[in-house]
Amino acid sequence: MAQVSVRPAPGNFDIDIADSTPALRTARIGRALKNAAWELWKNRSATVGAVMVFSLLLVAILAPLIATHDPVKQNYREMLQSPSAAHYFGTDKFGRDIWSRTVWASQRMLTIAVCAVMVGILGGVPLGTIWAYYGGKLDTIVGRVVDAWLAFPGILFYLLAATLIRAYELSLFWNTVGLIIALGVGNVPNLARLVRGSVLAEREKDYVEASHATGESNLYIAFRQILPNCLSPIIVQSTIALGFELLTIASLSFLGLGAPPPTPDWGADLNLAREHMETRPYLAIFPGLAISFAVLSFNLFGDGLRDILDPRTADR
């Protein structure tokens, strides 16, 4: 005798669970992936963005292999050299190879950006869901807090946090952790607002009422039923936020507030390059190019994703 009410769980999304086999499920996943790839390919911005993001990730992961020199070791015999076969991007005033520094910096910058966005998601999504789903007095209180939080200009908060972190003179690891937390906290209200909008819209739909009627707990409905339908804007916003986090990190390092000195960092390298702008302009070009490439890749990919996932806002 077939069961009438089955709690949805991984593995039994099919209507008739008796027919679902691992082979069928794999085939379904394969088809979904192929569909996704086709959608990505159709949208030009997404394709270019995806390729750029992929190459960026590749560079970051393969950094130890593609870097030609030690990024931190100073070598005064080879300082301030122009780009050449030995030093693809030239050397800076300490004799460090800029290509190696740029490549190693990509690891650090991407890690911080990804972690910061994840912190934002981990904080913002539950907050937004609970805020929107439960409503009532909670809605007003949380609304006020988030509004006030949002009203604080982001970059000034990061400046404060970074100055504080620097003042404590922590080790590189804790310095980075502090930065990630500060950046993540800055991301939370935006994401919470976004999730709240989606959840509010979904809350009125029939399946929510149906779930309620069958006796599911509020928490279950909010997180297992409504939230999966709100994923698109979260994904898009997170991708674009990755780009902006990179910009923020670079700006903070440019001002000297990021990692302490010998750590390879695009912003810090640009700051060093300022002294030699008249004599060696190439010092300023490459780190900036790296930042622009990285941010551009996430922006293009995010834009493309937005067009794919929400065709109503699509332009073409």
Partner: protein
Amino acid sequence: MLRYIIYRLLQLIPVLLLVSIVVFAFMKMLPGDVIDALAGEAEAHDPARRAALEKQLGLDKPIYVQYFIWLGKIVLSGDFGKSITTRRSIGVEVFKRIPATVYLAVAAVLISLLIAVPLGTLAALKRRTMVDYTVTTGAVVGISIPQFWFAILCVLFFALYLGWLPASEYYSPFDDPWLGLKHLLLPASALGVRLAAITTRLTRASMLDEVRKDYVDTARSVGLPEWRVIFKYTLRNALIPTVTVAGLQFGGLLGGTVIIETIFAWPGIGLTLYDAIVSRDYPTVQAGILILATVYVLVNLIVDITYRLLNPRIRLA
């Protein structure tokens, strides 16, 4: 409408309080003992002298009392304390530098509007042509380029390579308008490029929406010349949300002033803030952030209210 304005004005208070609390908390969380910093060796270790110094600085009171004293001094008498590096009153110094930053920010906004509105409109009207693709790609690139890198590139190209524009120093427009303008151009452009890119995308999107509306067809069918339809009606309507969102981007501009003023040695609040951060002059850092944050909140409020006044649908609701 009036109710909304009052509501927003009331909402200002908790926001500004939050800002002041965050800034105060920052100061209190800094490592290092103020007593140790100020007092000499002997005094620091002598408990009686220590207690006396604490009393003098007001550090013996509970923390919320300290907060209110600090806040009271700022709000009631504009006393931000003394700078650690220059030993002069912070309030006077900082307020002297506000005009330069305002000048820069306003110029940046003007430049960005001058670039963005024509380009965005053009892209919207010539949709899906090479012009459109160029403008949209340019806009995405403009958003992705770090402002400080763009500033450095501008300096490299226009100041060092071509020698057309100067790369530093500030001349007040009241003293010498032409010189002031020349020195303003590079920093304001560097500050405005991001805003220009965002505004271009917005203008384009708004125009695309507007042009599809019924009243445009009506105007055309009545026989109005095309340029009149576009400029007198469509553009004006499209500009309202565009300028609003652009105004709300002002916060990004504030962050940019710190970096741009550092690069161009522009004597505004941003440079003061940066110098204070570097020289660990924390009272000045506090004051700078407090002032900038307050300006940001106020500008947001003004933009929001202006938008609601300009948009008849909301004003008359």
